[in-house]
């Protein structure tokens, strides 16, 4: 679609202005993590550090179990995302293309998960994990997070798949493809942006969740970043600001990288009908 140059410039300016305003706190975090402690609370505050230092990053990496926590978070988030994408995609497909009794009620019931506040769910969930022998393992968190992410996954993917015309599949079936074959070749590519969206949501949820990680997992060997970093650097009488900012910046980097990578999938579309890219 062609636009007048003035409109293009205006759009660019407005968008970037909003983006920068939204990302200001990130900028503040980065700037603060590079300041020496003596500059932290200078009045008036400085946006550009007078001295740049990487000591806080170094201290977080060498004096704390940050890398261990990072590894745990990675395993946790990747596993949960894989599980949710697989179960969610299959489940959404089932809800959209198949008929069986109780289908609609099931879709509604699934949303029930979201109605209870976590504070009340947490102890029964923990007791359940203990009885399953899974307390204090990453598996318990994977199960918990899968349950939180699945309803969203089902609903979002259902709405994507519902928008895919049936003729495409019927055509494939007539051509001799099996039901599952049609699924893989027709549905998946069309629903890909929805799948990516779900994957991103699940990854972020598993990466940032705090309360369940706090209660379900206690030992450092399986502790994820959120509780690891928070417990270490935030206490009621003392907050290690510089280390916290450095750790938070490092915690955000994988998410930025993953998003940059997934972005191209999010925005590409396939299939008949042409897509705006």
């Amino acid at each position: 679609m062609t636009r007048r140059p003035a409109a293009t410039i205006a759009i660019n300016l407005v968008t970037w202005a909003i983006v920068l305003a939204v990302a200001m706190p990130l900028l503040w975090m980065v700037v603060t993590s590079l300041k020496p402690q003596s500059e932290l609370f200078r009045i008036p505050p400085t946006l550009i550090p007078s001295t740049v230092t990487f000591e806080h990053y170094w201290r977080v990496l060498t004096e704390t179990p940050f890398l261990l926590y990072f590894r745990n978070s990675m395993i946790l988030s990747v596993t949960t995302t894989a599980v949710v994408v697989v179960i969610g995609t299959l489940g959404a497909y089932s809800l959209v293309r198949f008929t069986y009794p109780g289908r609609e009620t099931l879709a509604g019931l699934v949303l029930f998960t979201y109605l209870l506040p976590s504070v009340v769910l947490i102890i029964p969930l923990y007791l359940l994990m203990v009885s399953l022998g899974l307390a204090n393992t990453i598996a318990s968190l994977v199960i918990a997070y899968t349950t939180f992410a699945l309803p969203y996954a089902l609903w979002l993917l259902r709405s994507f798949m519902a928008g895919i015309p049936e003729d495409l599949e019927s055509a494939a079936l007539v051509d001799g493809a099996s039901r599952i074959g049609a699924f893989v070749d027709i549905i998946l590519p069309q629903a890909l942006p929805g799948i990516i969206s779900t994957a991103l949501f699940t990854f972020i949820l598993s990466w940032n969740e705090y309360l369940y990680a706090l209660v379900l997992v206690n030992s450092d060997s399986v502790r994820p970043l959120t509780t690891g970093v928070m417990n270490m650097l935030i206490a009621s009488f003392n907050i290690e600001w510089s280390l916290l900012m450095a750790a938070s910046v490092m915690m955000s980097i994988p998410l930025i990288v993953i998003f940059a990578f997934l972005q191209s999938y999010l925005t590409s579309g396939f299939g008949a009908g042409g897509v705006k890219g």
Partner: protein
């Protein structure tokens, strides 16, 4: 009914195992702890002990690691695992741990009223054996009084003391304003703050937010007006003239505090003073370390005193949350857990731990406070008078669970602070300008309801 029964059966099942384990080792423990550490009498299977604490900043973590290494060297079959918990999250974690009997062996740095409350519910082991092992004479006199329970045992012992509401003040600003003496009474304090306020500097960073700091601080003010929240027998006593005076004074200080004080908690209050934006501060010894790191320019001009009271004849009162050590009931390997707890208080490990938060976590043992190895720390060397004052004030300090030495332990202290009833009282009088007597009447009713449970 079924899920509840299942949950209870699970708990019962686990606790039987715990109790048997405890009984088995009790005999060993009695023999083993006759000497200072009693390492020789332990069973030889591989044992893992879990240690929980909400204070695990990198310097402290390093100190813990050193202590763990030394303990493991002395007890080759024992591995100690340190697991950080959080000041905000520990109630949830503990509820889950007690419910499922997945208990840590040693818990440190939780406030004394947590120890008292859990003990009253039958969830903790008495710590008498550990105190014996450390040596009761080594403590500051009366240091363990806050842990005395109804059945005559100790529910915990201290791992440190913190004098959390000392008056911090800038000598350079005092000089500039022509103030000769550090304020001792409220009138002096108000006058001093007023004189020092100006040019972008405020008088004080008192908290007025709806949070635990406000509740804890106002308790101190009420005591310094000669009042108390409860009588020694735990009857509600807040509806008094003294408390009204305290609230009115606190409200009058509002104009000498920064605009955002309405939402201040510990972090903002500390930083207010450390950054040089306020002339006085109300905090513990962290000020010393933070000033050294964040604002060394004022390091030579800070000093502390006990917080001013309404009049000089009212005794000083210092808030100490009494970071404690306790051992949950039903842990296996009780003897080893007790040995670890006692070990945490022995030098040189204990000294390294204290040096990780110099001036803030103060020794509970008088012997350590006088130990040259402890005193050989740059911060402690630079501010010996301040550290000494804080050590002494903290050792005879109090908190809502233990308002004076005569008070019975208040097991609802935790809940009273968490309910924000006292913080609300401050907000109503200081921010809304309501009449103190009316507000105190309402607060007294709410406290009665909370005490009844």
């Amino acid at each position: 009914m079924t899920e509840r029964d299942t949950a209870m059966k699970m708990s019962a099942g686990f606790s039987r195992r715990g109790v048997l384990g405890g009984l088995g080792l009790a005999g060993v423990a009695a023999a083993g702890l006759a000497g200072p550490l009693g390492g020789r009498a332990f069973a030889q299977e591989a044992i893992t002990l879990r240690w929980w604490s909400p204070q695990s900043a990198p310097l402290q973590l390093a100190a813990y690691k050193a202590q763990i290494a030394a303990f493991e060297a002395a007890h080759p079959n024992v591995t100690v695992v340190f697991e950080p918990t959080s000041d905000e999250g520990y109630p949830a974690q503990f509820a889950a741990a007690f419910a499922s009997k997945q208990l840590p062996h040693v818990v440190t740095h939780l406030p004394s009223f947590a120890a008292q409350t859990y003990y009253a519910q039958g969830l903790l082991e008495p710590m008498d054996a550990v105190i014996e092992a450390v040596g009761p004479g080594n403590y500051f006199p009366g240091a363990n009084d806050v842990y005395k329970t109804g059945d005559g045992k100790f529910c915990g012992t201290g791992i440190g003391n913190t004098a959390a509401d000392m008056l911090w003040i800038r000598k350079d600003l005092m000089e500039k304003a022509g103030i000769a003496e550090i304020p001792v009474t409220w009138d002096e304090l108000r006058a001093a703050c007023q004189k020092m306020q100006g040019g972008g500097i405020y008088g004080a960073p008192l908290p007025y937010g709806l949070n635990s700091m406000t509740s804890l601080i106002i308790i101190g003010f009420i005591h310094r007006a000669g009042g108390e929240i409860f009588t020694p027998d735990l009857e509600v006593a807040i509806d008094s003239q003294a408390a009204a005076d305290a609230l009115e004074f606190y409200a009058s200080m509002r104009e000498l505090c920064p605009a955002g004080a309405t939402n201040y908690s510990w972090g903002e209050s500390l930083t207010g003073f450390v950054s040089g934006a306020t002339a006085t501060g109300i905090y513990g010894g962290r000020v010393l370390g933070n000033v050294a790191a964040q604002n060394p320019g004022i390091a030579d001009f800070i000093t502390c005193a006990t917080y001013p009271r309404k009049s000089a004849d009212i005794p000083a009162w210092t808030f100490n949350d009494f970071p404690s050590i306790f051992i949950p009931k039903g842990v296996d390997h009780l003897a080893e857990a007790q040995a670890l707890a006692a070990f945490l208080l022995t030098p040189p490990g204990y000294i390294q731990q204290l040096h990780a938060a110099p001036g803030h976590v103060l020794p509970v043992l008088e012997t350590i406070a006088k130990d040259p190895a402890y005193l050989a720390n740059p911060i402690i060397e630079k501010y010996p008078a301040e550290v000494e004052l804080m050590s002494v004030s903290a050792a005879s300090g109090n908190n809502l669970g233990f308002e004076t030495a005569k008070h019975k332990p208040n097991l609802k202290a935790n809940e009273i602070v968490a309910s924000n009833v006292l913080a609300e009282m401050v907000q109503r009088t200081s921010l809304n300008g309501e009449d103190a007597k009316v507000v105190l009447g309402d607060t007294a009713k709410k406290l009665e309801a909370l005490m009844k449970g």
